[in-house]
Amino acid sequence: MKSWLLGLFLLTNTDLYTTHSVVEGLESMQNYDYTKYHPMDEIYRWMEDVERANPELISSAVYGYTYEGRNITLLKLGLNDTAGSEKKVIWMDCGIHAREWIAPAFCQWFVKEIVNSYKTNKKLGQMLQNLDIYVTPVINVDGYIFTWANNSTRLWRKSRSLPPPDSTCYGVDLNRNFKANWGTIGVSFDSCENTYCGKSAGSEPEAQAVMDFVGTMVNQTLCFLTIHSAGQLILLPYGHPEISAPNYNELVSVGQAAAVEMKKVHGMNYTVGTSPQILCKTYIHSLKLNFNFLQPILKSYCRLLHPHLSPSDPNSGSSRDWARLIGIPFSYTFELRDKGEFGHLLPEDHIQPACEEAYVGALSIITYVHDKAFKNGAVTTVKHFTLASGFTMTIWSTIVAVFVTTGFMV
């Protein structure tokens, strides 16, 4: 009944074909069950329906092809910008790891929430005039399809690339294949293993597609979110223990704010993963001391400080790390529910609560980066962050600078 009336209304304002299309799309959208897991062909169809039903908000793009030749498709959510200033970008991808079904479920949920609230939520509407949110519901399409094949394939993680010449094992861990300290830590060079990082950085078409596409928008991109399961974590760059992001403190506080919001929804704890860095050691090394005997002393000194380890394990080649390295200021991995009871086989009755809290968390970060870039309606540059840590830091930096330039000219 509703859609009939809607159709009639739209008929008086737009041409017949578009109306019919929109109505059809809307109906499909309303009938789509976001609390169930969907196979890939249903997700592809849903993307078409959602675009058709919301032409003023959503457009789609195929930005690459998987190993087996399937479309890697994103939905771009954004409203026409009345002010005419340059739109900034938020990136969200789901399903890099095939078995993490809650992640694609969340991407679909996210789109549905935006569609259902942008007209009534003034803040959201305003943000969508300033931002385009690019959502890829499933990046590793081949892997995802493989997990639906039968009971024995459900726990597949990697892509479905053919085995290398000396092997019989398929697939590459796409989240170890990005150009970010590729192949250095937390990876395997054995193609039969689940953290196999591929034959070179970006060797896999799925990873390369993301790097190519986001690479063209890097200057406008405020935030890169990559969605995984499980563990209930919000991870910041970097996975490599020897390096740290310059806006580390801000990344932590924004992540923690998101975790606080997420907990309010259903009481679930999400731990913010500080990057596993030992910054002291990195600095010591960079001094290039002429007295080699000093280095061990200073390194022991570093060990006295609390070394920064992570709730998650060190790794390299992740999409999150790549995003931060090319200059996207905010980059996070979301590890959704749960903490081990069901793991990747998260029951469907968990989809709604998991997505509700994840939505709040994602929106918290998106709102922060938006407000930072669009203070007082004016666009501010977001690329240069100064570490605001006060008087002591300034002294420290000054002295260090002095030592480096003068102290070691021996």
Binding site: K36, W148, T153, R154, L155, R157, P163, P165, T168, Y170, D173, N181, T184, I185, S188, E193, N194, P241, E242, I243, S244, A245, P246, N247, N249, N269, Q277, L279, Y283, H285, S286, F291, L294, Y301, L305, H306, P307, L309, S310, P311, S312, D313, L325, G327, P329, G340, E341, G343, H344, L345, L346, E348, L387, S389, M393, W396, S397, I399, V400, A401
Partner: protein, 291 residues
């Protein structure tokens, strides 16, 4: 000159030292936003100099002393406690999850291994209660992989008695006309038939013996799935089951396949009689045709 550096560093580290502040020397240009190449360069450099070889990074990563309870060394040790408690007290009506690590401490025990002392909270899943535990986990460092040793004391662990329910279930299973059998618990959609749930719980308890035995400081095991569980003829008042279980290791991200033969009775709890790891590539695909 060298001494002066150390003294100044000591003073400044003392003033600024805190796990959450970052000491950020502006001069090393660690990735100021528009310098995408500074990080890869530094990583390459460290590789060449062998100052930060992976072994060394690993060595530093094996934290000693007071541990951050949220970071992975304490988390991995605490997970071992979860498996231990499940093997000792678990049943179809009692299962444990790790709720939280409150504090942790690690120390080397000569060359023989490392000992962790932990204050944790465990979550009893079926009664949905949480309680505190103190535990000690010792990881032996031998030539071959040895199981960790655990001691734990939890004040009110067995407060909620499950004896009656266990006895009822035991009798029911014993009297079965047809022997029970189930596959894929949970299934691909996370679903378990209500009358298979208790069988799934039994599979979890039995699998915890393997997870406990196989754990080290470099693993973090969780149940992935009970692929198959079959009841066998009751023998000497003990229910017996064959079970094919899938375990997930968070560190390597691998799925490990194990076959188990185990017994259960309310009096004795779960006892594993035989266990065998199945080869890695159990459902190996045929190699592709190379022309």
């Amino acid at each position: 000159m060298g001494l002066r550096i150390i003294v100044v560093l000591a003073v400044l580290m003392g003033v600024t030292g805190s796990p959450t502040t970052t000491v950020r020397p502006e001069t090393t240009s660690v990735d100021t936003a528009a310098h995408p190449n500074s990080i890869p360069e530094m990583a390459e450099e460290t590789g060449q100099n062998e100052v930060f070889s992976e072994e060394e990074a690993a060595e530093d990563v094996m934290a000693t002393g007071e541990l951050n309870p949220n970071h992975y060394p304490a988390q991995r040790a605490a997970k071992v406690v979860q498996h231990y408690l499940t093997t000792r007290y678990g049943s179809p009506y009692r299962l444990f999850g790790l709720h939280r690590v409150h504090s942790g401490n690690a120390e080397d025990v000569g060359d023989s291994g490392r000992k962790y002392q932990l204050e944790i909270s465990v979550h009893e899943i079926i009664s949905n209660t949480t309680q505190k535990c103190s535990a000690e986990v010792f990881f032996p460092h031998g030539q071959k992989q040895e199981s960790p040793q655990v001691q734990a004391s939890c004040e009110e662990l067995l407060n909620i008695s499950t004896k009656a329910q266990e006895e009822a279930l035991y009798q029911q299973y014993k009297m079965n006309q047809t022997l029970l059998s189930a596959q894929n618990l949970p299934d691909s959609h996370g679903h378990i038939e209500p009358d298979m749930k208790l069988l799934w719980h039994l599979g979890i308890v039995a699998s915890s013996f393997i997870m406990l035995k196989e754990s080290s400081e470099n693993t973090l095991y969780n149940m992935a799935q009970v692929a198959n569980i079959t009841q066998l003829e009751t023998e000497k008042e003990q229910l017996k089951f064959n079970c094919h279980t899938l375990l997930h290791d968070m560190v390597s991200q691998e799925i490990l396949h194990w076959k188990l033969l185990f017994a259960w009775s309310p009096a004795e709890g779960v006892k594993v009689l035989q266990m065998e790891q199945l080869p890695h590539c159990q459902h190996c695909e045929k190699p592709p045709n190379t022309n």
